[in-house]
Symmetry: C2
Subunit: 313 residues, 2 copies
């Protein structure tokens, strides 16, 4: 990994195609233009390719980690898991998560948070107005889904792409689509019964995408900001990463929907639209690398392209 910058100069990238068009009207086929870098693509993005956060579907989690306080911003996916998202909204509004803890960090897998006493009916924190039993939401119909398709092959599913900023896998023949377990995706923990998740216990993927979990558990959203906090927590013990002592846990001080916060306190972020030309160009920039890279993969996968956010300009 270089310490030097990875970017080709923007000037060179902009000038070369024009020069070859002028100089070589009847000569050998022109060289393909050097690929734009991701930074160049983003710098050229029109304002309309960005969208605001939906405050009714965005959670701010305040964490007290071993290195101090930090914020994790989570975007929920009501299109894919409406019942879970409704439940999570109720739980957040009822203060259910406030004072709970990170209970599990398994290396190269997940960071999980919830009620440390959740398995003990006598001690478990009540869910308030949230429902104690909701159906599993492992997939939704593929038909009619506004999927920005990836042409690239994926070993785990016949089709992949993006919807509303989320990485999606799909099986068109089975008319199913689902959120893919990529880095930073957030799911709802369940027991052995498929309908045993309520959103009271959540996890985020912190390692190589465990796509084998796809279609086995309800995915509810993704971390927009603050993944580095969840991913750098101390790992738990040999029992699937669950912490063995209460003092190892990081405290979840408060979880709020942005709607329920004063507007001035809400994070002022925009998210790149995945149905935009900028997103398509960004994927191309990742497929065809210049600068430091001497070999271009010519490929991208649904879990190796995370959707950018930026401060509201």
């Amino acid at each position: 990994m270089p310490k030097t910058a990875l970017l080709p100069t923007a000037l060179a990238a902009l000038l070369l195609p024009a020069i070859s068009a002028i100089a070589a009207p009847v000569a050998a086929p022109a060289q393909p233009p050097p690929p734009l870098s991701s930074a160049e693509v983003l710098a050229q993005s029109p304002a309309g390719d960005w969208r605001a956060l939906d405050p009714e579907s965005t959670l701010l989690m305040e964490l007290q980690g071993p290195r101090g306080p930090g914020q994790v911003l989570i975007e929920l996916a009501p299109r894919f898991a409406p019942r879970h998202v409704a439940n999570i909204r109720s739980l957040a509004r009822g203060g259910f998560y406030d004072g709970l803890a990170v209970v599990r960090v398994q290396d190269n897998f997940v960071t999980q948070w919830g009620d440390p006493d959740g398995d003990d009916p006598k001690k478990a924190r009540p869910l308030g107005k949230a429902e104690a039993k909701i159906p599993a939401e492992f997939s939704i119909p593929y038909q009619g889904l506004p999927l920005t398709r990836l042409p690239d092959v994926d070993g785990w599913a016949p089709q992949t792409g993006f919807v509303d900023g989320f990485p999606v896998a799909a099986d068109p023949k089975a008319n199913k689509a689902w959120l893919a377990h990529c880095y930073g995706m957030v799911g709802a923990g369940r027991g052995n019964a498929i309908d045993s998740s309520t959103g009271a216990e959540l996890y985020a993927v912190i390692g190589h995408a465990p796509r084998g979990l796809d279609l086995n558990i309800t995915v509810v959203g993704r971390v927009l900001k603050g993944m580095e906090l969840l991913a750098s927590l101390p790992r738990g013990g040999p029992n699937m990463g669950f912490y063995e002592q209460a003092e190892q846990r990081s405290a979840i001080q408060r979880v709020r929907l942005l709607t329920d916060m004063p507007e001035a306190e809400r994070p002022a972020l925009q998210v790149l639209r995945t149905d935009s030309k900028t997103w398509t160009a960004l994927l191309d920039a990742r497929r065809h690398r210049g600068g430091w890279f001497v070999h271009s993969p010519g490929h991208i996968e649904v879990c190796s392209a995370s959707v950018p956010t930026r401060p509201v300009p």
Copy 2:
């Protein structure tokens, strides 16, 4: 993610095929036997499917992290990067790494260590008997490579599999094979010149496999033990994760080849052979999940299957 065990009972897994063979000699096709779990496969592995560490190709790195001391065990890949591995051996023997530091942690990408003054010729630590310039070792010939092939499709390369415990990607038509940038793989940092890596600066992959780096940089080995230490370090600043202050760095106290350690102090570990039946069965166990899983992916990828180690029995 469940708190309950994920494993089907071993008894059920062993009995069911026998029962269906007895009860249904002329009836409908027998149900396929329930898949063995990974734990069951490992429990049944013969001793010959495991190998010892090669002390001449295994490094023990002693790290002083923010939460105290820890050990990282790294297996080098002389078949894939002979010049770099020879150089790393020289650097370790000359004490080059002792007292250096982790200089960079970029979330979902890499943890990198080396000489914080390496870019300043006046202050850089001398390489001792190691070579200051060696060729890039991005790939080796595919022909003749004892590759345990994965039948599963991979988007990044025409062929993948395992050699000597390492995840490998290959292009048979181009007669090239290379180590894949999976979680826990260790590479040799370089500048813009492809032959600017020496092994003095190393990195480990701590996030989703950045396969776009394949064929762009020399991969020298993999972390056998201690990944959780490298992956849970505090992330660095916005400049590609480089720490901005010296006090953020974790110290590398000592790096030794096992050969140069008293035998009694060497980690007593075995590694599963990737040319063994146990490894093939383990991959099958990951493709076809039972127990908690209600959907089996029927697929595995080269970066989602890490090769197990165990204490010497």
